[in-house]
Subunit: 329 residues, 2 copies
């Protein structure tokens, strides 16, 4: 299958690396080679440094649309402007889209899903929530038999690292934030993470998918971690608890209640031991009971692994391959 | 889609209950009604008590094979004799099989997968490992981009309940076993659970799928929990640890190393806080890093939810429905 990748940033470069390194394994799993036909990147040297041939690198999206052999477009630009426009163009043209873009999906998942339906294309987004953690797939497949009443979890690695450091080392918020910036976990402008917006976007995507209604940022009560003090953490610890930034959504009498805010959890709670950059998502369903999915919620290769998983799944569907029934060595 | 269910025991009755209770929701998700055309059960009163019409209940498997309208057979008899024979007959006839039968799969997964391939049928078995926990689906789909080097976890709820009680209440093994029998967790003959055979069968299924080689019971070093003493648990606790029955498989230089045995885990280890009847499965992969999937590993409805998830997935594939792209309310 010929694909185009849009963007060669953190996740884009991880995706290129995985596809180049594991070509043989992926061909076997996908039932056909996955060929990077075009890569859209404004800084061609970034892509060239990964070994992408010069003729593959393009600077205009039109060149991708002009190539009819590209059946799947992997959108890793991020943001809601050009990414959204490109995604719509692809779906309208019946091309599948794989994306990690929670900003876009938090606002347009319903619209884009409808567009995919109308044009017999697939929109895949495992990488948009929880990085490497299988979340979107399991909740739409294995858990399909359960009616999910509540989703909650730790959806942002940067804030979880900061809170973990505050709890473990007794340091104040500002110091833990600076440390996380030094380590490259937090960005220079940490607003999206520390104010809870990133968690809220992921919660919007998950809640939309699980509850089957469009959930937007405005539907979510959002409070970040900036006001969590060293004293708050000490008080929690003295009471056998720890503070986590909890994203939480449930349906009560047909009405959505959704929030992202710092919450004191008892130390024996499964989420209390989710530390550092790790994420975890919990589901409560009538038949399945409580389910927790845990792993690396960010990072180049973990997120790229979810992206490539989606690409392989699209290939398999084209060839009617049942992933649970692999051919044996 | 017309289905037949074989067996109306714990998981069979849960499956019937779910299918009858959630008919409307499942029809919407599956793209068609899921109709129980036949139910094989030697004790018809068991099925009748659930509201299954008398004409649906049959006492001979031949009646199911004789009905050409049945496309998917749900094998919930258990064991390796008739279940194995029926599964082979179904697959040979091109009928899909959904099964929760780890005993059968631990021995014949490779053979049955090949049979499914050869006859263009699907063999689905999410319920065979970890009950309600999505494991088989995620590891064959979302995690397909990662090369998994190690699988480990707590795969048996009964022994985990016993060890949890020993650790929490300081009681000896025998007392904890009797309590778990009173609660219905352990069977009258607890051999399969306490000697580690049940965990080993699930590990064989998982390792076979993940490493792509046939892993059998004989390949696994197995030690149960019968010799874990109250003193062992006290010693572990004094060292900041707890004892869990760990199933563990990895590939080292192309050679499988697999074991099921009691292991002391530091209390801060993610598996140390998996308590009572809960199960958890961890994967370590090159791109995804560490992933843990946690939930109810047994029980009528949790296991049935995995069975029905597989049935819905088969329907969706027939209609080319992409689960990640649901229609919105």
């Amino acid at each position: 299958m010929n694909i185009a990748i849009l963007g060669c940033g953190t996740v884009g470069s991880g995706t290129v690396k995985l596809l180049m390194k594991n070509e043989k394994e992926y061909t076997a799993k996908a039932g056909e080679p996955i060929v990077i036909k075009k890569l859209l990147e404004r800084h061609p040297e970034k892509a060239a440094a990964l070994g992408v041939p010069a003729e593959t690198i393009v600077s205009s999206f039109d060149e991708i649309m002009a190539d009819d052999s590209i059946e799947t477009v992997v959108e890793l630009i991020g943001g809601k402007t050009s990414a959204y426009e490109y995604t719509k163009q692809c779906l309208r043209a019946g091309r599948n889209v794989v994306t990690a873009n929670k900003d876009m999906l938090a606002e347009y998942l319903g619209e884009l899903t409808a567009l995919a339906h109308a044009n017999h294309a697939m929109l895949m987004y495992e990488a948009s929530v929880g990085g490497a953690i299988p979340v979107i797939g399991p909740v739409s497949r294995s858990l399909a038999a359960s009616s999910i009443s509540r989703i909650y979890g730790i959806l942002n690695g940067t804030t979880n690292y900061i809170l973990t450091r505050m709890a473990a080392d007794g340091i104040p918020y500002g110091e833990a934030l600076r440390d996380s910036q030094k380590l490259g976990y937090a960005e220079a402008d940490p607003t999206n993470d520390v104010r809870g917006y990133d968690s809220a976007r992921k919660l919007a995507v998950l809640a939309s998918l699980v509850f089957g209604v469009s959930v937007h940022m405005a539907d979510i009560e959002i409070q970040g971690i900036e006001d969590v003090s060293a004293q708050d953490m000490l008080d929690a610890s003295a009471g056998g608890k720890t503070i986590k930034l909890l994203a939480d959504a449930c349906m009560e009498n047909g009405r959505l209640r959704a929030s992202v805010k710092p919450v004191s959890l008892p130390l024996e709670h499964p989420l209390a031991s989710v530390n550092d950059c790790f994420n975890a998502v919990c589901f409560i369903g009538d038949a399945c009971g409580e389910i927790m999915l845990y792993g690396r919620g960010a990072g180049s290769l973990p997120t790229a692994s979810a992206v490539v998983g989606d690409i392989i799944e699209i290939c398999r569907r084209r060839h009617d391959v049942v992933p649970e029934n692999p051919l044996w060595k």
